[in-house]
Symmetry: C4
Subunit: 478 residues, 4 copies
């Protein structure tokens, strides 16, 4: 039996005890190997770390012995604070083979990850209108299936920026994947191997890029891209790109729709129990007077002055890596992207997380067709947001997208580790194959707009014809 005082005597990097759920552990040897970094553990050295522990680890983590995690014995019951009382266990996860679609993964994640993790990933800007519209837009597009087309099989292989992939979708970059699974981006890389799914690694990754890449087939054998937030300290961005190239990353996706974070109210309302730190950007979250929104707190280093004239500099530090702009929302900006010579654009409203009532990517895709269709001849176009079914993927491809990004679903699949990631890939691939065969298409060269009916949403898309009121401009003010 230990007392609080006993524990408090061991609070340095050379002798570090912590308390988790009423048990005292010596974690001195664990410090250097903690994926989240030693600092975070040290901030609880000699003290209770139950809350922080539970925010980022599955309940089962300590049920088996962990290397470097040495249990010493129980704390005196009389000293147990209220937060150490055995709590109602988060529900357990059903077997992976009972999961048959993305919504299953989502529903299970809601029940089994920590409340803060759920808030961070599931939340979106203010009233969630864009997030819901993202999905609805796909649901309102109908197919025009062609029958009797000798559809014995369907081939889902394609190329993205010239790199082979087994499927026309990629793992969209999402921050701090260690919050849902300790192995985070490493498990994602491992799960992506099977079908050569391309993984885009976030600047705010939980793990170092090199570790992530080596968890897969390794550089040259598996394709990874880098998602980039440009740092106010440009030198850090240059270093990051140099490091990424050294690790074998093949392209840079520059995020342009989140130089400041949206107001994600579910996330703001939950305080951050423990600072979250990225192993790549070094950003750390702290609560502030606005609340505990991780997305906002981790984005404080992002350069808000970024503009089109910065593209040449980005190219200069990216070297021969292709540049893709992620977050284009108008045909006008797609046109600028062509003008500035980037290799691709991701039409995206950041999963509805940045600005509520910003347009679904599918609307923007249609807007480009109406106003500036030449863009499809100049660069590759991807879209993301609300894609939950193989049918959604097929619809995007019919409208000229080269591939689509899958964000939250891969996060929720990561809840099952690399196996979950691979399982999700198979689900989406299978749904896509079924859709292709039902529509009379054998490989992805066969998709075209005539296979879908977009009339239900066409009327909601800008076509570049000026409204009467576009002629008017308010007088300048101030």
């Amino acid at each position: 039996m230990y007392t609080l005082k006993d524990v408090a005597a061991h609070s340095g990097p050379k002798d570090c005890w912590i308390i988790i759920k009423g048990t005292v552990y010596d974690v001195t040897e664990f410090l250097p190997q903690h994926p989240g970094g030693a600092e975070i553990i040290l901030s609880y050295a000699g003290d209770d770390a139950t809350g922080a522990y539970e925010s980022f680890h599955p309940p089962s983590f300590l049920e088996t012995p962990q290397p470097g995690f040495k249990p010493l014995g129980p704390l005196l019951p009389s000293e147990l604070p209220i937060s150490w009382k055995p709590e109602i266990k988060r529900q357990s996860k059903p077997p992976l083979n009972t999961i048959i679609n993305t919504f299953d993964f989502e529903a299970i994640a809601e029940r089994t990850v920590t409340p803060k993790t759920w808030a961070f990933y599931s939340s979106a800007a203010t009233d969630l209108l864009s997030m819901k519209l993202n999905k609805k837009a796909f649901d309102q597009v109908l197919f025009r299936p062609r029958v009797m087309r000798n559809n014995e099989s369907a081939d889902t292989r394609t190329k993205i920026l010239g790199f082979d992939t087994g499927v026309p979708f990629f793992i969209a970059p999402t921050a701090m994947q260690g919050m849902v699974n300790l192995d985070g981006e490493k498990a994602m890389a491992k799960g992506a191997r099977e079908e050569n799914v391309i993984q885009i690694i976030s600047t705010n990754s939980s793990h170092p890029i090199a570790d992530i890449v080596s968890s897969g087939k390794g550089p040259q054998k598996q394709t990874h891209f880098l998602q980039l937030y440009v740092n106010t300290d440009r030198q850090k961005t240059a270093q990051l790109l140099a490091s990424a190239k050294a690790c074998g990353l093949r392209a840079v996706f520059v995020t342009v729709d989140a130089h400041l974070a949206g107001k994600r109210e579910a996330d703001e309302r939950l305080k951050v129990d423990v600072p979250v730190k990225s192993a790549v950007s070094g950003a750390i979250s702290h609560n502030d007077e606005k609340g505990g929104g991780i997305g906002r707190l981790m984005g404080l280093y992002v350069d808000r002055t970024l503009n089109w004239e910065d593209i040449p500099w980005i190219k200069s530090v990216a070297g021969d890596l292709p540049i893709v702009l992620k977050g284009i929302q108008t045909a006008a900006d797609a046109k600028l992207a062509v003008k500035y010579g980037v290799q691709g654009i991701v039409l995206s409203n950041h999963g509805g997380r940045s600005l509520d009532t910003s347009p679904p990517a599918l609307y923007t895709l249609l807007e480009i067709h109406k106003i500036y269709p030449e863009v499809f001849n100049s660069l590759e176009v991807y879209i993301d947001g609300g894609i939950r079914r193989g049918t959604d993927i097929f619809k995007a491809l019919c409208l000229g997208a080269t591939a689509v990004g899958i964000g939250r679903p891969y996060l929720y699949a990561l809840n099952y580790g690399a196996e979950g990631v691979a399982h999700l890939t198979q689900i989406l691939k299978d749904e896509l194959e079924t859709t292709m065969r039902m529509c009379g298409v054998r490989d992805l060269s066969g998709v075209h707009p005539g296979l879908i009916n977009t009339r239900k949403i066409d009327a909601f898309v800008e076509d570049g014809v000026e409204h009467s009121y576009v002629k008017w401009r308010p007088k300048s003010k101030i």
Copy 2:
């Protein structure tokens, strides 16, 4: 009192005991007369067959003595497994004369058929969007009733492919009707006699075609058509057609929208308790790694290479039987059907069961009017999916359909046997007569598009005018 060991000693075709709900039966004499075939029972010979029994028989089946089904006595209570415990009884059915519409039949089926049967029949592809849209499309069409038209009576008789019928609707082909009622397609045939409702017999029928036909008025006196899935073994298809002709079937409906089955998640989630076998195609369902979807499991023999160039061969083996293609979903394919010289087409999205967000048949019907109206002069057009009211039938006829197919409602009516089938026919006929008289129409030659207002859905239908983006084609890939 018997032990499990006692029973296990009787496990051959000449001496076959099984256990059902704790009672041991000698079913040796029943084997040759089992409508589902002897093999299925033999797979449980000497063993407990409760689960399989309950999946396909009404609870009341064994309450009265069954010929060839000889009760021997109870199993030792100590050997009773958990699944033999008396279960909560499925609810009982209200009297047939209290049922006044198709929705009553559906609600009762949900409460009284086995969970697997309900899952198989009620399920549809992925998110059920097409299934719901099928019904909504009809609800959004308004009437333009003409008054004071001397409507003393209404005559619902018509011809389908030249064959007389009392009503402009037919029994759409659905698989394994024995799952809802032991007599399955035979009871359906019997119930169809009264109004000369034409029955389309599925390739995946529970009963042999000859038995089905002889349960009605018999060949020449009652009209039956064959629904055909072309077999990868073309010889089997030729034999089936020869057999069907010999039995007096009058036309062949070739299904073209289900060479592979849709992803019907409610069905996949429920395991098949017992293999289901078709008496016509011989297909048997088994669980596999994707789940227990009966539709998918029974369709494994279907030839996925079927294409337009196969039509001449189908004609050659069908001889003088008219050919109808079931599952057309675009005006373009309707045009091809005319070109290839078939006698009819069924506009259908397979009850929303094949590909989610495929178009409601009513949309396709309007699309044909807009793009290729000549088709109505070249072949007969039928539609199915979502038709639940006499008003729905009338709307389809106003838009040029010769007749409509009724699928799930007849299955749910079959829950009451032949009487249920006849009762449903009377309900729909009565609703149709009321609609005709309310709209000022005395017989079916009087229907025309001016009697309905389709404006609410017109804007959602493709009209063949090219969108700007149809001009664009993605570069080929791979």
Copy 3:
């Protein structure tokens, strides 16, 4: 204490006992004065009449002594059948002065009238789509209020067919008003006096026309019209019209949209406990194999052969009474009405009770504007269905209606007798005055289409431009 045998001995018109809720009554003297006729009581003579009594009388009826209704004493408890057990009392009604809109009256009626009465009045055809759309159509029309118009007061007076009325709405004809209040149409007449609200008396009235008229201010002093169902026995119709004229009725509204009744399922599902008989048409309801739908059962005498060529005959028997056709649903039939020289038309889908998905009257009103606006110069146009607010009334007037019919709301107000009827009139009048003043209109000559915005529903209205598919006509069949 009486026995059933005691009671059974008194079962003739000269000596009539009945049992109600366990009490034996001698009702011999009551027979000739029963508003529903002596026959109905006699059908229960010497027997229990509780069910019939409760279907048509308020629970409070027998709480005070009724003339001619002589209580003899209780039935032996041992002989009390289950239906005589004291039942849960229908809820009591809140004070009339707490009711501030039509929905209050409706909600109270649902709780306080008998289930059969509620089913008969509240039900509509099959899936209730038209009934709901009737209201929704009004809700989707917006105002374009003009401000600063010196709106000290609003004058709601107008003329209908040349007859003065205080308000531009009338009491639409509804059958068997005695079901909601024993005084039925008589109380309605009394309540209509105050604002000179014109009452249209149904052919299926509970009370004789003469009694109804004399309950108001009397002929010449108050305006009543007759609603007419033409009888298969034309002589009876001629007699009815002669009688109506003698009673001082001023116009004839011939119903043309209900020669057969719609399928009102809520009504069909409830059996008629006691035959309901009209004092005017003599129609009596009985259950039949389709169910207990009062509307259907009471309409069996209606001439289904009625057509436009019958108009001259109707005129001949109506003499100098103006003729109005009630139930016009297309501009084409409005045009025929002009051609046949009637004085008015009611655009109506019978409150959604006849044919489901028939058009809201507001759609038909707009259709006439688009296709045949000249009709407004030739006859008066009224509309009914879904009008629940003064705003609804004003919208109809802006689109050229002379007045609107109020149906169910007056029935539900009648639940409070004549006072309820007068209270409802004041509520609607007050709402209409507020609307007029808010829109800048001082009297009804000031209404015009520019005061409303109908764009939300315009696209759903036929405009007479032929669709491509109107060119096509199905080949005749049979």
Copy 4:
């Protein structure tokens, strides 16, 4: 212990006792300092005032000693009437810093203000259709965000009628703010100081104008405008304007859409427990036969004859104060406003409180663009109704509004006093800044219609093209 008789002996202005929740108080000294005036307390002198007290004071008011409010002791328990029984306490308010949006303020107000206060502020005309549509209209407008625009900061400053303000929104005039917080408009003025939010003071204010102005930074230092209901006694209006000018108010907003109050049913259903009196207009509310609607009862003095020809007179008494008309709902009236030479208009449907199904201000704003865009060059245009987010404000500005009015949200924020008001301002300002930066706008001179997509609502807005039926005019009646 006191008896009722004891208390009744002290019922004059010089010796005034009242009973509140079973405690007797001597409030003689409190009379002259009561913000609501001495008369109201005197109407309960010598009697129980619990109901009145609770309608206008927070439950916590008497928990701390109040100057001039002298507790004498308890009433005899036997004399306690039912209304004195301790009631379930209204819920307590969460800390202000946990509130992150307008909806939080609203939800808390619903739980914590008195039922009558909630009914008065939250209610709207009849079926609430306009109130809901006000919000929905904003939600249906999408952004077209421009990215990579160097958005380090956003400047929300602007001018309204030439007066500086930190934000492009103002505090819309709402009546009797003392109902939600005893300091009412005074606390509002205090809370508005920080960002120079312009406050519009209602004619029906709880406090005198001079007191309100002096609660802020004072005249010349903070901007206040006057909302004006023209009195039937024009002399009173002239006096009010003279007084307002003397207090330093800078503009007059004449309300033109509420010369009579809408039918706000939630408000009418709750009786006024105590007369409510305005310190500015002197209007007092009383229950009448229509109910207890405060808005209606307090508007009885308003001149219903107001019309365009009165504008010159208003100008003459307003002197050099700019005139703004509040409640314009059509482009036609906007045009008249230009003709009559006012300085601004507020497009408004009075928060949906005046006439149900009147158009959302956003529709009217679009209508002006379509029909009479020149108006933006002649006067300033503001809109209000349904604005709950910074995104809503930005959309209005993009369409040419100079600023927007915020009504109910400021009332609900006032529930927290001046701090709540300031907190709401910061929330809206922060949301607006985020929106500006996300859309690529640095200051308010950068807004323009190209930044939004209004297609979803465009079709519902009148464009001045005449419908066929606009050509028709009903014949005059009466």
